[in-house]
Amino acid sequence: MYPRPIEKASAFTNISYRVALPISIVLWLLPLLAVMATSVRSLNDINQGNYWGWPSEWMLIENYTQVFTSTPMFQYLMNSLIITLPAVAGCVALSTMAGFALAKYNFKANIWIFATFIAGNFVPFQILMIPVRDLTIQFGLYDTHWALILFHVAFQTGFCTLFMRNFIVGLPTELIESARVEGVSEFKIFWHIVLPLVKPATAALAVLVFTFIWNDFFWALVLVQSDEVRPVTAGLSALQGQWLASWQLISAGAVVAALPPVILFFTMQRHFIAGLTLGATKG
């Protein structure tokens, strides 16, 4: 283990370390804690400069209720779900198939197709913007949920294929070979042998991609515009312009928008981090 386990250090170091941990968290999360504290204050407190003292009145329920009653925040959250869930399912499905093909078949173009998926994944969004926007308008999908679902499926498939391919490469090839000798069709091999083995990887991938898509802002600006389809990131940004100095409401809105990926992260932490590093450190 590196660095040396702190238990083996002197009692003083040991205790200082344990004290330093919570302090460092508070400092690290200071901007966030400020926002959370603000979200339960009254406008009066803010106007009078009471940012750190005890709130003169707790507005927890009032502020958070107001976020939902006086703005389309609920609609934004629903839109984010309607966009994110099918998009995650779509790119996990496509990339599992593509990853299997790239991991377990030897054909000439293999490495080049793999490289294309990876390269596409690093491309700046701006070079896709005008053509993708035109395409979406031509398909008649501009300002619909489908505009974002289809784009996210397509784009995230690049990263997901890299991820699934790296995972499937590690699965025993003998299993597939012996099934092939038995005359099992390629599709059945995929369905009955590969799919059960990749389940843990797809869970990790789904959590990760959910966060990526939920947090997308650029495409939500470019491909949709009305409140009926706008996801929560673009919605929140639009509300920021209307609320102006009502920081207690902006803060509450920000907390609400951040909550779903945060909850998912805390319940699926192990998967999330496994996903992030499996996709990355094998590159």
Partner: protein, 310 residues
Amino acid sequence: MASSSSNKSPENAVNSASELVAGKRLRASDVAPWMFLGPALIIFSIYVLFPVLESIWLSFFDWDGLGEKTFIGFGNYIELFDSDQFWTALTNNILWMVLFMLAPPMGLAIALFLNQQVYGIRLVKALFFFPFVISQVVVGLVFSWFYDPSFGVLNSVITFFGGDPVSILADEDLVTYGIIAAGLWPQIAYCMILYLTGLNNLNHEQLEAARLDNAKGWKMLWYIVLPQLRPATFIAIVVTVIGALRSFDLVATMTAGGPWGSSTVLAYMMYEESIFNYRMGYGAAVAVVLFLIMDIYIAYFLWRMIRSEK
């Protein structure tokens, strides 16, 4: 073999299945990869590969997005290189890249600090990773509030120590640094996770051997640990450079490129020219410049990856 079946559609795949029955040289395992790859390749080509080419093509035209396209050769690029806004954006992008390079060492420092097995450490690590999980729009709002000249936490601290309040996001000289600091926050968290995983996979025997030889402190870190962390460092640098060049969300949320265009970056400039000024060809030219800069890193990454696969 594969090359002859490479562009076959699903109908052809059925044909080749019958060829298989006829005992010809096509085998199911030659066709199968293309059936599995098909859907992903098709949608990826439509939404990613062709748009890249189309944008490059568009950058040679004068186009408002609706009317006729007029071919003007390198006209957009000539105008671009003459524009102050472009050089401001490019300079800011370079500033982003340089300062973002703080993320890997800072991520490593935090990872070393947290790589212990004391009570509750898993929660601590999770909380440190927090900024990466939340949307950049939220990070942007959080930092706007943090920097706010009349309400913000930062100014409370500055005035507490007797300083004068500064309005970071309204100050031409400070604004980009303010946004970069906000961007570093999640980026450091990302690098920290990469290094924590790397630290988990260290070779214990080598560490013990070095300790027996009395290696300590910086020397231990520099000569024994860092070489073993090279894969993590490589990825941390790649994702950090890409992150710096992609910066859009924070600029859009915190300043919309202002004040007076001083905090803009290529990604934001492109969006602004295309969507607000209806200059699609010009916007495409900005995107192409950004794409070319990024290509250096993409090419390097692919070269390393293909080399390691062979």
